[in-house]
Each structure stands twice: as C-alpha cells, then as structure tokens.
C-alpha cells in the first residue's frame, strides 16, 4: 500500500497516543527545563567574579572527565555559555530517551500486546501507527525545545534586561536539544522494525544513544580525534554553539538524518508482518536443558542476552575511558596558561589524574546502577503480565521469587560495574604511573555500596510496595543530577548527601574512610530485608 491510504487513521491514532502519554511527556519536559534553567540561574553563584571565572574555566577545561561527559568547554564567561556546556548533554539524552520510548511504546509495544491488531483491523493504513508515534515524539521534542528556550529567556529576564543575544542563544540551545531528540525518534522508528520484541527495539535504540554519546565525549577528550564528534548527533548539537555562535545551519544535519531514518523505517515496515520483526524467529528446544529447574535459573535464562550486551558495553567503555587517562597530563603541555592558573590554585597534574579516575568510577557506577534497577523492575513486569503466578502456584517460595529478580539485580549490577571498572583500571594503570593498579582497583570497589543502595531500594519496593516502583526513576534521575552537577552548582552538603554516590569517599585523594561505606552497606542491607519481609505479606498483583 502506498500513497495517502497508507496513512489513513494517523490523526485518531496520534490523538490517542497523545492522550495516553501526555502526562509522561510533560514530566520529561519539566525535568529537562528544570535541569537547564537551574544551570542558568546558578551561574552567578558558581562564577561570582572574573577571577573565579578564569580559575574555574581553567579547572573545567582541564577536567577530562567533564570533557568526556559534557564535551569541550567553549565559553564559560556568560550564563548561556555555561548552561549550554553544562546541561545540553544530559538534556539531549533525556529528550532522546523520551523520543525513543514514545515511538517504541506506540509501535512495537502495541503489537506485542495485541492492541495493534485490534486497531489494524479498522480503517487504518499500514504506516499510520508508526507515523502517529513519530509525530508524537517529534511534537514532544519541539515542545521541549520551546519550553527550554522560554525558560532560559525567563531566567535571563530575572537577571536583568533581555538582550537579543539572550533570545537567540536560548532558541538555539532549545533547538539543538530538540533536534537531537528528533534524530532518536528516527532511530527508534528503525529499531522498532527489527528484532522480535519491543524490549529489543528499546534496547537497540538505547544502545545507539549510549554509543553515540560516548563517542562524542571520547572525540572531545582525545587530542586529534575531534572530528569523531561529527559522527554523533550529540556532536551536531554541540557544534551549533548556542550563545556563542548560534550556527543554525548545522541543524540541517539532524533533520536530514531523521528524514533518512524515517524513510528506511518506512521501507522496512512495508516488508514485515504485524507483530514480527524483520529478523526471523528460530525454533526452540523440544525439552529444557538440565539447569532450567527453578526461578533463579529461569531469571538468568531470560536475562543472559541483555547481560552479555551490558558486559561488553561496559568493558569497551572502561577501556575507552582508560585510554584517555594518559592524555590528562598532556593538557598542560598544550596550554601553559592553564597550567599556571592551576598551579596557583595548588593543583598538579597528578591530582588531576586521580580526580579524573575517581570521577570515571562514579560515572561507571551510576550507569551500572541502571542495569540493576532495570533487572529488578523486570520482576514487576513479570508479575503484572501473569508470569509470576504459575511459579508461585508451583513450589517456588515468595522469597525465592523475589530473590530471582532482586538479588539478581544486585549481582548483575555488581558484575557489570566490576567489568567496566576493571577494564578502566587496567588500561589506566598500564598507560600512566600516577597510581598503582591495586590502589585504583580499591578505589573502584568502593563505589559498590552506593550501587547497592539504589538497587536495594528497588528490591524493597518490589517486595513491599510495588505500586511505587515507577517512582524509582525519579530517585535515579535525582541521584544522577546531584552527583554530576550538584557539587558545581554549589548545593548545600545536606542536599548533596541525598545521593548515595556523593557519600563514597574519594580514596585516591583522601584515603579510606570506612564509616560512610559501612552506613551505605547497612542501608542497602536494610532495604533488601524490608523487601523480603514485604513479599511474604502482600497479595500478588495481576494485569
């Protein structure tokens, strides 16, 4: 089917999708606006005068971990420049994730549940569902762009009169963030046509998002590799240089990429059957392997593919970041002025390297937490979709069931983090000699209790109060922001301590403090116990 009839029904489907998702999308946009506006408004606190600005610019420019995460420092002399550098990365990720989830939810996930079948039997064109989903995602991204711009203009009005440059910069930043999201709507449109389940589609698109983000950071941090940034949508957004140069023409790149991706998605869609991916199904075994004999074995079997993906990604990530460590000392060879400012502040390249190592471990630990959280949340999905019932109606005890998802999440996140930390530590120790390998590895290990606290929270909720599990993402998001941005925004210690990761002692620069680690571990243990107590008491939920 080609032509207008393929898109019949897009309007009603779009309205339906909008109705189902409006709260979710507004929440995402609100979070992004909060992130961006708070960076802008915090500028005067962080950079009170010219001297502080010079010092901090030197410090941030030479902080390779920040470069990996946020891209190169271009201009910190204005609130707009600082905001663009500080918040564009994370905001673009948030908007892109929103786009991915929106597209997958209204295409692949609907097919998985069978609702798409019901809809497709009506007067609906073949491409209508995909078109409606993409339209919604794009609309969400555009709304985010406008909201970000509006909030920045309002923030600059607070500081004084609004100048034309402020408006142009705000619009450019909003557009850059929104455009990146639109690209990933296109990516998700394609991945939704591959693979057999909606989880595969989300995972693939998410992996591409992670990979292109890491690529951008690595390109920015490795001298001679800056051209690599142009391979990543996040690089395109950064190169627009909002507030600094506002290169609007570069927005043609994400637009063009999206058009190409949507065309590919359309072609793939035309060739596949509803409910199936392009990649075909292989037949399974007639009998079960000998180890498939319990809830934990089942849980392992269902997650082994995803775990393999996470492990390889983390090893790669760790090694990649490790390769950057050796270039930190080189930052000052290129920039003697920077070196002078830093030395005046009492720093040295060794200090910088150790600080970098500490930050990377924190970043790895934060991302590994996502793996653990996802694993435990998967248990809730199993329960809601009725696959916990047959196990509990057979001889699987409730604690055994909780453990197959909860403890599995703890183990999985620990193993994934350890793999990445090991890769990072080994590459770092081999390429630099600032700290011996054993010290580096110990520093890495110390992040584990913080991971356990967050994953332990999920276990507690799954066991005792599963209706609140969705709120865990708010806690995770807040933890990310508090850990990565909190210290710079000058938030009070009491607030910063709400993030478990901010309580992990910096072993390499400050030595070992056992007490905070003990407290974190105790909190994690208490949460896990609460989960196991709760699971014995509550009713099993269905659908």
């Amino acid at each position: 089917m080609t032509g207008p009839s393929a898109l019949t029904g897009t309007g009603p489907l779009f309205r339906l999708a909008l109705r189902l998702d409006r709260v979710r999308i507004v929440a995402w946009i609100a979070a992004v606006v909060l992130l961006v506006a708070s960076s802008y408004l915090a500028y005067d606190t962080v950079f009170p005068d010219a001297a502080a600005t010079a010092e901090l610019t030197a410090s941030f420019s030479s902080n390779t971990a920040f470069t990996l995460l946020l891209g190169q420092v271009h201009d910190l002399a204005t609130p707009g420049g600082f905001t663009a550098w500080r918040s564009m990365g994370l905001s673009s990720i948030a908007v892109s994730l929103m786009a991915i989830f929106t597209v997958v939810r209204h295409t692949r996930a609907e097919e998985d549940s069978g609702r798409a079948e019901l809809v497709a039997s009506g007067v609906v064109g073949r491409h209508a569902a995909l078109a409606a989903a993409v339209l919604l995602a794009v609309a969400g991204c555009l709304t985010a762009a406008v909201a970000v711009a509006a909030s920045l203009i309002a923030s600059s009005a607070q500081a004084g009169a609004v100048r034309g440059a402020d408006v142009a910069g705000a619009l450019a930043l909003g557009a850059a963030i929104g455009a990146t999201g639109v690209v990933f709507a296109g990516v998700a449109a394609v991945t939704a046509q591959l693979g057999s389940f909606s989880r595969t589609a989300s995972a693939l698109a998410g992996a591409l998002l992670g990979a292109t983000y890491v690529l951008r950071g690595w390109g920015a941090a490795t001298s001679g590799m800056e051209w690599v940034e142009w391979l990543s949508p996040f690089g395109w957004g950064e190169q627009v240089l909002p507030y600094l140069e506002n290169r609007w023409v570069l927005l043609a790149l994400p637009v063009a990429a999206t058009v190409v991706l949507l065309a590919v998605a359309g072609r793939l869609l035309a060739r596949r059957d509803l409910g199936f991916g392009i990649v075909g199904q292989r037949p399974g075994r007639a009998t079960a392997g000998p180890r498939l004999a319990g809830a934990s074995a089942l849980s392992w079997r269902l997650s082994r593919g995803a775990l393999a993906g996470w492990l390889s990604a983390f090893v790669l990530l760790g090694a990649l970041y490790g390769s950057v460590t050796s270039s930190i000392a080189g930052v000052f060879k290129d920039n003697p002025a920077l070196a002078k400012i830093l030395q005046q502040g009492g720093g040295s390249t060794d200090d910088l390297t150790l600080a970098f190592v500490g930050m990377i471990f924190t970043i790895l630990a934060l991302v590994a937490t996502l793996n653990g959280v996802q694993r435990v949340l998967h248990g809730r999905t199993e329960e809601i979709e009725g696959r916990a019932e047959p196990l509990l109606a057979a001889s699987v005890s409730r604690p055994a069931w909780l453990s197959s998802h909860g403890l599995a999440g703890l183990v999985s996140s620990t193993v994934v983090y350890a793999a990445g930390a090991l890769a990072f530590g080994v590459v770092t120790a081999v390429t630099t000699d600032t700290a011996p390998l054993s010290w580096v590895l110990i520093a890495g290990l110390l992040e584990l209790p913080a991971i356990w606290v967050l994953v332990g929270l999920c276990v507690a909720l799954l066991g005792a109060a599963p209706r609140f599990l969705a709120a865990v993402w708010v806690v995770v998001g807040a933890t990310f922001v508090l850990t990565l941005f909190g210290p710079v925004l000058g938030l009070p210690d009491a607030v910063l301590d709400l993030s478990a990761f901010n309580n992990v002692p910096d072993y390499l620069t400050q030595g070992l403090h056992v007490l905070p680690l003990g407290i974190l571990t105790a909190i994690a243990a208490a949460l896990v116990v609460a989960g196991f107590v709760g699971i014995r008491r509550r009713d099993l939920d269905q659908h």
Partner: protein
C-alpha cells in the same frame, strides 16, 4: 484426611469491592468438582486464595490438610494449576516451559508427557510468543497433567480449545479421575461439566448459592411435559408445582397439555394426567442450561 479442599466462610475484599462473601466449598479426595458461576463471581479469586497468592480477609481455608498461605511451598508440590489466562515466556519454547514447571513440582512422567503432546497435537519446539491462544493453553494443560500430583486445579482450561481438542481434554480428565486424582474444575462449558463432574458448586457474587451432585440438582428443576389426553385433566391449574400450563382442546377431540413440572412432583402429576386418559406423552428432562441460568441470573440470597 477426607477433604482435599475445605473452605468455610471465606471473605475477601479489594478496596470497596467485596469479591468473596462468606464462601463455603468442599472438595472430597478423588472427586471431580465443578466450580461454576457467571463472570466476575469470584471463581478465580477463590482459586488464588487457595494457591496462597492472595490472603483471606476472613474464613478458614484448608488445602490438602494444610494452610495454603503458610505452607504454600510444600503444598504446591502436591498440586498442579492451569490458569485461566495463560501467559508464557516469549523466548522459551513450549517444551522448556513444560519441563520447567514439571521440575518445580518434583518431576514429570516422561511417557505421559510424550503421550499428551501427541494427543493434543502440540509442537513443543515453538517459542512461547508464536503459539496461538489455544496452544498456549495446551502447554499449560500438558505441564499440569504430566506431573505426578494428587490435586489438579483447573481454571477454564479448555476455553480456547477446538471441539476435537475439547473431547481429547475430557477423555484425559476422565483418565486422571480413574487414577484417583482430585480435580477442581472451573468451567463455562456445560457439556464438559456434565460429562466429568461428580459434584458441582455454583458461585454468584462471591457466595456459593448451590452445591451438590448433578443428580440432586436436576431434581430441583423442572421437566417439560407434552401430553395428549382424552379429556382435560382436573385441578392442574391449581397446582403450585405446575408452571406455564397450556391446555389446547380440539373440538370433539383429544386435549393437548403442555407444562413445565417441578421434577420432584413429576410422579404425582403423571398420575393426574393418566387419570384423564393418556394417549401420548413426551417428556424433556431438565437441561443443565436451564439449571445454571436460573442460578446465574439474579436470585436473591437466602
């Protein structure tokens, strides 16, 4: 232990909805017990309480002599459950699911497994996601029936099966009964209930409104009679146990009497009819349909 399942006064509420309202149920060992009722009457909720998935607000529940909430894990090794809405793991094959469930119950009879796969014409190598609804149910049925347990709890197990598979299912359950297994069968398929069940409990709005053997229940309904008589029989209209009486008299000829008679007083009514000169008689035994429909529709609680 004489009763496999013994429930007294079970109540359960979800928020403001009273799902179960003082429900009583007894299933004797070795019997096939039918559990019937309209949609939303509390059958699945009762089964979930029996399986320890939900806790009871009030009442006493005994499953195979034990407490289903506290001793769930040990008791579950002695029973097999087929849910009403089968949800399989999309990436596991049917054979893997059957083996997994069997291992959780302490073992499968391999010969019976192979035999059942053949009789139900089920391909065990297909992945869970690719099975049709009926085939998903077959996976759950084979997993339950191939295990070596004493009690089977089946929640609408054959609702998606085609007529041929339905008859296979009935044969198989009859075989289980011969082996001495106890079966609690919740079903809407009345022919199946008639063929398999020794005793039946009818649930409405969370309460059992009728329980007993089918023979007993038939006794409580009406037989429809069509009789051709020499003359109009006296006193039929006054009888409380004769309903919807239609007397048609052709001039100078026989009288046709049609009525629904309470089965209990069938004998007495026939005597009255015979006294008026019986020429021909057609009697329709009470259908299960009528029996259940009478209970399914709004009848006030005693």
């Amino acid at each position: 232990m004489d009763a496999a399942i013994e429930i007294r006064g079970l109540s359960k509420a979800f928020g403001s909805t009273q799902a179960l309202d003082s429900l009583d149920l007894t299933v004797a060992t070795g019997e096939v017990h039918g559990f019937l009722g309209p949609n939303g009457s509390g059958k699945s909720t009762t089964i979930r309480v029996l399986l320890g998935l939900l806790s009871a607000d009030a009442g006493a529940v005994s499953l195979l002599g034990g407490d289903p909430w506290r001793d769930a894990t040990t008791l579950h090794r002695r029973l097999a459950y087929v849910p009403g809405d089968v949800s399989l793991w999309p990436s596991l094959s049917g054979g893997e699911v059957i083996d997994l469930m069997g291992r959780l119950r302490g073992g499968l009879d391999q010969r019976r497994r192979a035999e059942l796969l053949e009789r139900f014409e089920l391909d065990p190598t297909k992945k869970g996601r690719t099975y049709s609804k009926g085939n998903k149910q077959k996976v759950a049925i084979v997993a339950a029936l191939a295990s070596q347990v004493e009690l089977l709890i089946l929640d609408e197990p054959s609702s998606g099966l085609d007529p041929l598979m339905e008859s296979v299912f009935q044969q198989v359950i009859a075989e289980e009964k011969d082996r001495g297994r106890t079966v609690l069968l919740s079903s809407h398929i009345l022919s199946e209930v008639e063929a398999l069940c020794d005793r039946v409990s009818i649930v409405r709005a969370g309460h059992v409104v009728e329980a007993g053997s089918l023979a007993q229940m038939r006794h409580l309904t009406r037989t429809s009679l069509t009789a051709v008589l020499d003359a109009a029989p006296p006193g039929l209209t006054d009888r409380a146990d004769v309903h919807d009486l239609v007397v048609t008299a052709s001039p100078g000829g026989p009288v046709t009497v049609r009525a629904d008679v309470d089965t209990v007083s069938l004998g007495q009514v026939l005597t009255v009819l015979a006294g008026a000169g019986l020429q021909s008689l057609t009697s329709q035994p009470p259908t299960l349909e009528e029996l259940f429909l009478r209970h399914y529709s709004a009848t006030p609680r005693p």
